[in-house]
């Protein structure tokens, strides 16, 4: 059997694949954070909770309304994103003129509310969401066994990430968004409805988180706390990559997932902390982040 540094190829590739899947979630979530941060200038601490809401909405939709996976994949981001827009319109807008730290604190409060309420109704232990029938099983690629659902998650996440990149960098709407990031007052003077743009942007960022949540539902146990620990890692990813660049956020997310996967193969004790260690290294060597601009 082929060995890579003393580890069987199958195991090595399997862990790398798991890492890449985690990386896809890091990428989706840090992308959403970056999009929201760009225009609203707040760090959305509720992002983890909104990811969790996405997974829960899919689970409850299946259990009580019989909504299948494919419909949920489309419907849940719309519903949770809509909830996000309501939150932006009713709450976040009131503090938009204040120090941006208040936005962080407010969304932290919202995260506590979402997480705490769901813990009360469903407890902390997770439930499992069945893999959709179409994506069951897997393929043997010779050097590794690839479960179909994992392959799908990777493809779907990458398509959504690159689609977002395309919309922001290559379309007229994206141009508005980038201009709004640079100078919202001037945009408004040109007759663009900036408040609406802000609401839609927040909704879109939240929808990305919810989409990630639906994708994650068949992979990880669906529990109220599934988002918060993930979010802290995503924060580290964001510090590593910097929130200035969309492509940077995607690449950093995937790379960090891979590094985590590799660590799991060679030194599992550090798998939890390796991303934080990379963050420390980046802070020491390139304080603005890999893709960040020096302030």
């Amino acid at each position: 059997m082929t060995m890579i540094f003393g580890v069987p190829l199958m195991v090595f590739m399997g862990q790398l694949m798991l890492g890449l899947i985690n990386g896809a979630f890091y990428a989706l979530l840090s992308l959403g954070l970056a999009v929201i941060f760009g225009l609203l200038k707040i760090v959305n601490f509720a992002h983890g909770a909104q990811y969790m809401l996405g997974a829960f909405a899919a689970l409850l939709g299946l259990q009580y309304l019989g909504i299948n996976y494919w419909v949920a994949l489309l419907l849940v981001p719309l519903v949770v994103g809509g909830l996000g827009m309501v939150i932006e319109r009713l709450i976040l807008r009131r503090i938009a003129h204040l120090d941006h730290l208040y936005g962080l604190l407010l969304t932290f409060g919202l995260a506590l509310i979402f997480e705490g309420s769901l813990i009360n109704f469903f407890g902390v232990s997770g439930s499992s969401y069945p893999t959709p029938a179409l994506l069951e099983g897997g393929m043997n690629l010779g050097f590794m066994f690839l479960p179909t659902y994992r392959a799908w998650v990777l493809v779907a996440a990458l398509v959504v990430c690159l689609g977002t990149w395309f919309v922001i960098e290559r379309t007229r709407l994206g141009a508005y968004l980038r201009a709004g990031t640079e100078n919202p007052a001037l945009m408004q003077a040109f007759g663009v409805n900036v408040p609406l743009l802000i609401t839609l942007t927040y909704g879109f960022g939240v929808a990305l988180a919810a989409f990630a949540g639906v994708l994650a539902a068949p992979l990880y146990p669906v529990s109220p706390t599934m988002g918060s620990s993930l979010l802290i890692v995503v924060f580290a990813v964001v510090v590593i990559g910097g929130m200035g660049s969309i492509l940077g956020a995607i690449l950093t997310g995937l790379a960090m997932g891979l590094i985590e996967g590799l660590t799991k193969v060679y030194y599992p004790e550090a798998a939890n902390t390796v991303i934080f260690l990379v963050m420390i290294l980046v802070l020491l060597l390139r304080p603005a982040g890999l893709f960040g601009k020096e302030a």
């Binding site: 707040i42 962080l104 919202l110 802290i232 510090v239």
Partner: protein
């Protein structure tokens, strides 16, 4: 009095303000000394430990404008080190154990501080949160913390080898003394020229740089001081409750201390004390009521309300009212 006539009105005002402040401190100290006669001392000790924790946090947020989302790490580090020391070396007196825990927090604070002050604003908060999560994972895996179960059976011991702290009243007066010392350090720091420069950095960092201040050094000292005092609070708490647990290291705890400070009043000396008292009482009351499971939802709601419409906090609002009506 001849000397009084030579003072300018501004100096007189300053002098009378100082007099009023000292009277207030005196009254509060007397109240603190009498409190255990009326209220359960263990509850009071819990409040005092968290009040010191919140005051330490407020030094950073309120006076340096730095939002740390990782202060739980210092509380827990102080607690664990004190707990391990006292549990493994029975000859050690509690004050030495607390000193060791505090030093451990100072060392960790220096490490956090050096890294975190390289980034500003929102990134500062995220960096401290990530670093604290790393410390949390370390404590989960480390063999000496008892993992999920926590560290139990830490002896209270005898203060200076003389006074038994097993007695709750003795313990209370010790905790009260620790709190007063910690508070005095913060009070001194805030009202010193150092504190003034810190506030200047908070208000306008580029201007402070252009005036020639080494901004990073000022921030780092504030961070280390805050971390050390948070560690002192954690160490003292471990001696009081005879245990150290992962709850103290969890990011929820970092959020709670922010809430205490915000609710009481960011950038006021007494705000964090009031906030800590309220949050701890609320948690204690709710734990016994049918709403016990809703604590984190209620804390979240208070967070949202505070940020939306109560940003000066309780003490801040009172100060505003006094200033408006009495001057």
């Amino acid at each position: 009095m001849a000397t009084t006539q030579q003072l300018t009105p501004a100096m007189q005002r300053q002098r009378s303000a100082r007099l009023r402040r000292n009277t207030l401190y005196l009254v509060l100290i007397v109240l603190g000394l009498l409190a255990p006669l009326a209220i359960y001392p263990v509850f009071l000790m819990k409040v005092l430990c968290f009040a010191l924790f919140a005051c330490a946090f407020n030094l950073l947020l309120g006076y340096a404008g730095l939002l740390s989302f990782g202060h739980a790490a210092f509380l827990a580090t102080g607690g664990y080190f004190t707990g391990i020391m006292l549990a493994s070396y029975p000859g050690l007196t509690p004050e030495v154990g607390i000193l060791i825990g505090t030093l451990a927090a100072v060392v960790l604070g220096t490490f956090f501080g050096v890294l975190a002050i390289r980034r500003q604003g929102i990134y500062f908060a995220m960096v401290t949160l990530a670093l604290a999560q790393m410390v949390f994972f370390f404590f989960v895996q480390a063999p000496f913390t008892g993992g999920e179960d926590g560290l139990h059976g830490v002896p209270r011991g005898e203060l200076f080898g003389l006074i038994s702290l097993s007695d709750n009243l003795n313990m209370y007066y010790f905790v009260f003394a620790v709190f007063v010392i910690g508070f005095a350090i913060i009070q001194r720091a805030v009202h010193s020229p150092y504190g003034q420069v810190l506030k200047a950095i908070r208000e306008n960092e580029p201007r402070a740089v252009s005036l020639g201040y080494n901004v990073d050094a000022y921030k780092l000292v504030a961070f280390v001081l805050s971390a050390g005092l948070a560690g002192l609070a954690g160490s003292t708490k471990t001696v009081v409750f005879q245990l150290a647990s992962l709850t103290d290291a969890h990011w929820h705890m970092s959020g709670e201390v922010i809430l205490m400070t915000l609710l009481g009043g960011v950038g006021t000396l007494f705000g964090p004390v009031v906030g800590a008292g309220l949050v701890v009482s609320l948690q204690t009351q709710l734990a016994q009521s049918p709403l016990g499971n809703w604590v984190s939802v209620i804390l979240g709601l208070i967070f949202v309300v505070c940020v939306l419409s109560f940003r000066s906090g309780i003490v801040g609002e009172i100060q505003k009212m006094v200033r408006k009506n009495f001057k």
